[in-house]
């Protein structure tokens, strides 16, 4: 009997202590960010989708269609075809697709690329209802990005 009464009091006290802590936290500054209204930026090394680097010196990418990225990729994301141009010089890709829905964002392709022409993009809101949106044709993509080089996403 006595034990039960004691238990009720300790129980009530523990709940009061809990309430006090909750109240203390209520007075603190909120840590949440009102996301769509309040813009956020991912960290500088954020791993977004893979894309071509646009080198300022040449104004375009530097892929030589060596297929190293295709071979290392654990998830078979790339499909690349390349030819030597008729006027000679380095091999260039004429077909380069990337399937983001398979990609595990492991950066192995970036490390394997001999010309350092792949990078993670800083985009993070890539959700889509359409599966085809995740197929990127890098050659078209690079042309489009060249047009809006100063736009926001391009670091």
């Amino acid at each position: 009997m006595f034990k039960n009464i004691k238990e009720i009091f300790t129980g009530a006290w523990s709940i009061l202590v809990g309430m006090f802590i909750t109240f203390k936290w209520m007075l603190k500054r909120p840590v949440t960010i009102q996301y769509p209204k309040q813009p956020t930026r991912p960290s500088p090394v954020h791993k977004g989708r893979i894309r071509f680097v646009i080198f300022p010196a040449t104004g375009t990418h530097d892929c030589i269609a060596c297929l190293k990225c295709q071979n290392i990729c654990p998830s078979d994301c790339f499909e690349i075809k390349g030819d030597k141009p008729a006027e000679g010089g380095k091999k260039r890709p004429n077909f380069f697709t990337y399937n983001f829905s398979n990609c595990s964002l492991c950066s192995l392709c970036i490390e394997a690329c001999p010309t350092k022409t792949l990078e993670h993009s800083p985009e993070f809101n890539l959700a889509s209802e359409n599966k085809d949106d995740y197929f990127y044709n890098f050659l078209n993509d690079v042309e489009e990005r060249k047009k809006k080089v100063d736009a926001t996403v391009n670091r």
Binding site: I21, K47, P74, S107
Partner: protein
């Protein structure tokens, strides 16, 4: 998976495969071919017949006991785990965990690529302890090819592993308290975990499934900003942990809910191969970091917390103490981290380890996680076997859950800290 026959086994089932299948996917001769539609229809028909037989016998005999399927979409099974409960009223007679809903053939995938191509997969096996699993795999291959790891890389490994352990325990803390019926701590814990994930985003770039470890070092250095943030995080975390202790551990409802529930005895723990905090709560001070030190864990000062009760509250208390110990290791590592290269430039890109067998284990937040690797001297591993802690820890629920109430099973499952992809791999 190999089609082995075991004598005197009480319940010999096909693991992860239908009972009627006649193929063995982990054998080397296995060809990747889909089931024909006829085969699948046949399997379904046989299964349906078996189900009907069970339900009709139950109906015929007017039995009082009945079967309840808990999961695979039940929120408190923490993922797609199904518990088949045989019940009499509110009391459990028999529990049968049905696994395989999150099976992705990680081990087979390892055999199909070269050593580099298995990099991203370990962190997906246990998505709450990605960094530590990365270390497990990278450590195995490093042992196989014998690479030196630089001093700074060793410290980086300890720092990210301990942060990961904290993040995982915080996640578990919130989820477990949600299981036993309190919602508020979940939000507090997520706030702290968010801080750790932000730090991981600064070093690795991903927030959940990392690929930060490389053979011989790391992918990139820890930035000074990240180290500063980690240093600021420690005192904050300490004060928060004290608050949580007052909020939760002193709370009488929580104590009544967990004390004496789901006692794992010493014998049971050894029989089932339970590891991690669940084992330490039964009174064994077994921690891979102490008993088989890997990395530079033997250079730090810390203790292995244990409890003697073996109940849900004991497991809870051990995990909370582990968070304090992690903070202790972090504090030392962050003050002592040396300058220097984060990567071993001599690490080969393509290599063929000597033929042989290699095993390397790490202490994941849930227990001993080891990778057993067989190399046949080619560029691809011959076999990668993962010893994941949750698989053994889950099996113990068969014995522990018996004669308990349904609500207690939720509490026991929460206190065992199961991650379902880790069970299924």
């Amino acid at each position: 998976m190999y089609g082995m026959k075991i004598d005197n086994h009480p319940k010999l089932d096909r693991l992860l495969l239908p009972e009627y299948s006649n193929f063995h996917p982990l054998r080397k001769g296995f060809k990747f071919e889909g089931d024909s539609v006829d085969d699948m229809n046949r399997t379904w028909e046989i299964e349906r017949e078996a189900d009907q037989k069970v339900s009709s016998t139950v109906l015929e005999h007017h039995r009082r006991d009945y079967f309840v399927n808990m999961g695979p979409q039940h929120p408190s099974t923490h993922g797609v785990l199904r518990l088949l409960l045989h019940m009499d009223g509110e009391t459990i007679l028999e529990i049968d965990p049905v696994i395989g809903y999150a099976h992705r053939a990680d081990e087979k995938m390892g055999e199909n690529g070269n050593y580099m191509q298995f990099y991203p997969y370990p962190s997906r096996v246990d998505y709450l302890a990605g960094m530590i699993y990365n270390w497990g795999y990278v450590g195995t291959v490093e042992r196989a090819i014998g690479i030196e790891i630089t001093e700074r890389a060793q410290y980086i490994r300890v720092i990210v592993s301990e942060l990961q352990r904290l993040a995982s325990h915080l996640m578990w803390y919130g989820a477990f308290l949600m299981d036993v019926g309190s919602f508020t701590p979940f939000l507090y814990c997520f706030q702290d975990r968010e801080e750790i994930l932000d730090m991981f985003e600064m070093c690795d770039g991903s927030r959940l499934t990392y690929n930060y470890f490389r053979f011989g070092g790391q992918e990139r250095d820890l930035s000074p900003e990240m180290l500063d943030r980690a240093r600021k995080f420690i005192p904050m975390m300490k004060s928060h942990l004290k608050d949580y202790e007052k909020l939760v551990q002193k709370n009488i409802i929580f104590r009544k809910r967990t004390e004496g529930v789901g006692v794992i005895t010493k014998d049971m723990a050894i029989q089932y191969g339970v590891t991690g905090a669940s084992l330490r709560a039964s009174g064994f001070a077994y921690d891979v970091r102490k008993s088989e030190p890997y990395g530079i864990y033997n250079q730090f000062e810390w203790d292995v917390p244990t409890a003697t009760t073996g109940d849900a509250y004991g497991r809870f208390a051990v995990r909370v103490q582990e968070m304090w110990q992690s903070l202790r290791i972090l504090e030392q590592a962050l003050t002592r981290i040396p300058e220097g290269p984060y990567n071993n430039p001599a690490a080969p890109k393509r290599f063929k380890p000597n033929p042989g067998e290699f095993y390397f284990c790490v202490e994941s937040p849930r227990g001993e996680m080891g990778i057993y690797l067989i190399s046949d001297g080619t560029e691809n591993p011959y076999r990668i076997k993962m010893r994941t802690p949750c698989y053994s820890n889950l099996q113990v629920i068969k014995d522990v859950g018996r004669k308990n109430f349904l609500a207690d099973v939720v509490c026991i499952l929460g206190s065992l800290d199961i991650v379902v992809p880790d069970v299924d791999r």
